[in-house]
Assembly symmetry: C2
Homo-oligomer: 336 residues x 2
């Protein structure tokens, strides 16, 4: 038995994907992520089994307007976390990059993905990108599920990188314990307006590309916005630290990593970790509940009856609101 | 009776807001829009009564990356529509501008709102801006409701302007019959990637700021993307016309307006108008249904039982999926 080839230990035929993932096998992880990404039945079943193994990873969202250099910064953060010697063995880090929803983007974003490659030689770093399929809720749900798989696989830190320019990105970063909002000098006022929307969810603020002209202006502008959002004397929310970094040279990255770890410590001390975790699971439950209740209503009503409702609405015989009032109850009583 | 002051005709005490809106009173329109925006009970009741009066307006979404000059273009399109003499009286035009979700943005976007002001002296143009409150579905729903009010108020064209940089904006423009995607030269490749996501929903493509250097490069790039998306010989989708305009000078705006009207004619001929209308109402119904079913489930379960579920999930005794399986049915059978 001792003479069995070494690779067999990696893929014992008696172990299924979930067991192999929990045993740390990289191929099983990649396969399960794909199943979960595609929302297959086996993926869903695996998620149920993995659930008790989740809740340990530090989930860090990295978001910001286009052009801020988020990908490079995520790359550098992953490398810096690996180099930290406060833990032995060093932290395992996963990066999940979310692309905007489009068949066109494969090419456009390839540059980003390639840039990430320079950490991929390290077995303690796992990089995966995913693209939106279908609705807003769909992407957020898929992302949550993929993060759970990475969490169960034993990654200490999961970096979730999103193109942070809309509400859907806000939904995604709500997954995270710690949200890093990345800015850069010279993006113009129009971008500034969008950024404002995500400033509110920042736990750590980073002005990247700090070697560019105008960095002091950007820092001042952000400080001004923070002054507005966190007036002196009001201590109910923690004011996010404002840092500067240059991902291309690595300058300032150590301080960013420090701020991420400090926010984690703050969350654990203040009870915020548990609260975020609780909120996240609650949203996941509610999202599934909503989908299930609607699917059951459809089953009870039958496709033909539903089509009739749509036609009556299209003829403006009754409004969508009146239709819901009339038929949501009807299908309910049918069940008795 | 004839000597009664003229303003009484505008606000007969016997008429309620809905009747006054249908009679064309501007103040009633503004008030109803606020009620609907705030989702008040009277706003919801008004929407039900207005529903039979909707379905006539041409809904035109105007979207694009930040910095493309969407607001100025919307302004110019509104003016140009008013100047068209093919109909007497000329078309009534409403502009609904959607701001990104933030308490910070009031100031940042004021510039846009001010620029819009130069059509506001015209009684045939109505301009309104709204900001997101709460969730993604919330903004889309509020926007749909406000558009319905404008539709019922007799506006021939409703321009819906959004900061088109995310999924939530895609949700909003799905309201529209005709989607105008606005681009501009020199926004950089990162922005390009985001734009790709909304290119798929374009019915008319406009490169604005056509007086800037690099406009030919932008036109070529977009043409290349269109070639990919609409290969020669495949005729199942209409390839959007690609136009150039300079909103600040008005150059090219007449052609943009022409393309919008041609798309409307195309939709009416091809049956696409009815199909989009049908899809839109169906989504509205489904969104309301989902909210109603979930609210009823909550009522049946009771708040305490729901808290117990959340706690069991937080202790990882059961997964969100298992909880839904267990409790969605339980509450259903309680109803019998």
């Amino acid at each position: 038995m001792k003479s069995a080839p070494r690779f067999q230990a990696k893929s014992q035929p008696s172990m299924d994907l979930v067991e192999r993932l929990l045993a740390g096998e990289r191929l099983a992880l990649a396969r399960l992520l794909t199943q979960v990404e595609n929302d297959t039945a086996s993926g869903r079943a695996a998620l149920e089994r993995l659930f008790p193994h989740t809740g340990k990873a530090h989930l860090v969202g990295i978001t910001g307007a286009p052009g801020t250099g988020k990908s490079s910064l995520a790359n550098q953060i992953a490398r810096a976390l690996r180099r930290l010697t406060d833990r032995q063995p060093p932290r395992k880090v996963a990066v999940l990059a979310i692309d905007p929803s489009s068949p066109f983007t494969g090419g456009a974003l390839l540059g980003d993905r390639l840039r990430m490659k320079d950490v991929s030689g390290d077995a303690g770093v796992f990089i995966r990108s995913t693209a939106s399929r279908g609705a807003v809720g769909g992407l957020a749900r898929t992302t949550a599920a993929m993060v759970s798989v990475l969490d169960a696989a034993g990654f200490d830190t999961v970096l979730i990188e999103t193109v942070g320019a809309g509400q859907s990105e806000v939904e995604i970063v709500r997954l995270a314990h710690t949200v890093l909002v990345v800015d850069a000098p010279g993006l113009g006022d129009d971008i500034q307006a969008i950024k404002a929307g995500i400033l509110e969810i920042a736990d750590v603020l980073v002005v990247n590309k700090a070697d560019l002209p105008g960095v002091d202006h950007t820092l001042r502008a952000l400080n001004g916005m923070l002054d507005l959002a966190y007036p002196e004397g009001s201590s109910d929310r923690r004011r996010p630290p404002l840092l500067r970094a240059t991902a291309t040279t690595g300058e300032g990255v150590a301080e960013v990593v420090q701020a991420i770890l400090e926010h984690r410590a703050y969350l654990l001390e203040s009870g915020g970790w548990q609260r975020r975790e609780h909120d996240r699971l609650q949203r996941e439950f509610e999202s599934l509940l909503t989908a299930t209740l609607t699917a059951r209503w459809r089953d009870r009503m039958g496709e033909q009856a539903i089509q009739t409702i749509y036609e009556r609405i299209a003829r403006r015989e009754l409004s969508p609101g009146q239709a819901v009032e009339e038929y949501a109850a009807l299908a309910g009583s049918k069940q008795t």
